[in-house]
Subunit: 332 residues, 2 copies
């Protein structure tokens, strides 16, 4: 058990985002569902990229974005994920380590290139994501370091990876370590279509292993079969010790199994530029707060604050110190 | 002579920018001169990158940035430069082509990786650049396509490449084609230290081949041996048919050999974020205007407008349509 205590370890897609502006016609032409995420193969990735506008590359990946936000909040973070031994892989690794995040998963050999997420941002700030998983999909139980998981207050899993069978084994292995050592396991549902395809397997996984469940309102409705917030709260309590449902500008709802629902207000950004990473940032604030033993309200407010910063600019990782912002707001 | 008429072809470094925030201590620790550009080898590039903050990758290169701005102004642009057959090379090529720029130089085989410029931006918006040229330094006369140069009103060279002997041969070959076909050749001095090391060779090249010379005030002082603007104007007239001297917030001075100096005001940006690419953008506006036969004042004002947009955000390429901005200002 060498190394520092960690607030949150993320297990997820190691992916570089390729962000460009687009219009609705572009999305239609390329069959990209607006505001959603689709998985694409390498051929389609090349086709869409060739047609995209001039782009900016920024390290991404849902759980990795969250961990970057944890680090920006002043927390200790770790990440488990798979890049290839290539230039984008070097960039992904650099950007996490530059924030002080532990990232020691070795690169994939003899496999596909480092994954990338082609993100087309329309003028209404909606992001539509086409993901070529590449090496990212090859996270396996071998990447899970027992000593590292034991050092983390919370281990956090990204639902996007739930459909990769070997990655799911890695989730289960890491969850078992967390569960056995009195640490907490958290899961974000990531996408409503993942929930629809995997509902019963997901439900079993959550009830068996997960302490903290994160979902946006669409994903929660898909999982619980209702968009009625009271129904969601009732079913969430039956499934998981703590559930957080994010509702965009309506804020979020924290549902503890043994307590009253806590409503947390959203924080309006200085200017809405690009919603990429809003959920990832919210997760970071909430989980960092819970790892530090804050109240649900304060932890949720840290989530709102992180999300507000991230949607005020292009790209999913914080552009300024979230710690400094949180201190200004008396949340830290 | 197939293909469209081109406003400007740029010949320069094919480089991807790696932009991160830094403080003055970082620059001191790594011996990076503030506000300047140094060439570094691969080992030093790895060392500096490893120590840099989390970064954003955006295609760059001085002349390539200019051509991106020409395209954003609604002009037809072309680019000649060298990338490797790797991921950063693909990104560089994509980003130019996505803007409608012709870029057909084949990738370098069996050489170094695609070049990159590590740009540390301090809180005063100054950028300090450490460039690993990589494949970019291998531009050769073989990359110059005679038919393409003939299609361009102006061929534009980047002084940074002047110190690479084979690239310099490419400059001379392309200049000869432009000169013989009644087209204009333009050169930006790029950096005062290049001027200091190459003063006599540069002077010969300019007087023999160059129709339009671009320099900032520091580079002009280095070339002409004086920072007195009257002396600079007199010596510039003796050397070159048209010289443009940029003076940051003081605007620019256009010095035609056979006419009065034209003073062009700078345009204050909405907010100063990052001066990377200011000179490249100015060059684009000026050269595009001259290619279209605009007055010196109007062409210079397009330069001011492009520079103002580019320094108002992180990165050296325009984030919004320069054509739309210029139309709003009645410059187009």
């Amino acid at each position: 058990m060498t190394g520092p205590q960690l607030d949150v370890i993320g297990v997820g897609n190691a992916i570089v985002d390729v962000l460009a502006k687009a219009d609705d016609d572009f999305l239609k032409t390329h069959d990209i569902p607006k505001g959603g995420m689709i998985l694409i193969d390498e051929v389609r990735a090349r086709d869409i990229y060739a047609a995209m506008a001039a782009a900016v590359e920024i390290s991404g990946g849902s759980a990795a974005n969250s961990i970057a936000c944890v680090a920006s909040l002043g927390g200790q973070g770790g990440f488990v994920g798979k890049v290839a031994d290539d230039e984008l892989g070097d960039i992904f690794r650099h950007d996490l380590r530059a924030m002080g995040v532990e990232f020691d998963s070795g690169p994939l050999k003899d496999g596909p290139e480092t994954g990338r997420c082609l993100i087309n941002v329309t003028s209404d700030a909606q992001r539509s994501m086409s993901t070529f998983l590449g090496a990212a999909g090859f996270v396996s139980p071998d990447d899970v370091d027992e000593a590292q998981i034991k050092r983390a207050a919370i281990t956090f899993f990204e639902g996007y990876l739930f459909e990769q069978p070997v990655a799911r084994e890695a989730f289960i292995a890491a969850c078992a370590i967390a569960n056995e050592n009195g640490k907490r396991a958290a899961l974000t549902l990531s996408d409503a279509s993942v929930v629809e395809r995997q509902a019963s397997v997901l439900t079993d996984f959550i009830s068996g292993h997960v302490d903290i469940l994160l979902a946006n309102d669409v994903e929660a409705a898909a999982l619980f079969g209702s968009d009625d917030l009271d129904v969601i709260a009732e079913k969430a309590r039956a499934l998981c010790p703590l559930t957080a449902v994010t509702r965009s500008e309506k804020g979020s709802m924290l549902i503890p199994r043994d307590g009253d629902v806590v409503e947390v207000a959203a924080i309006e950004p200085p200017g809405l530029e690009d919603t990429t990473g809003a959920g990832d940032a919210y997760a970071a604030g909430l989980l960092f707060g819970l790892a530090r033993g804050f109240s649900l309200e304060r932890a949720g407010s840290l989530g709102s604050l992180a999300a507000s910063e991230v949607i005020s600019h292009f790209g999913a990782r914080p552009a300024q110190s979230l710690k400094a912002l949180a201190e200004k707001s008396d949340l830290l």
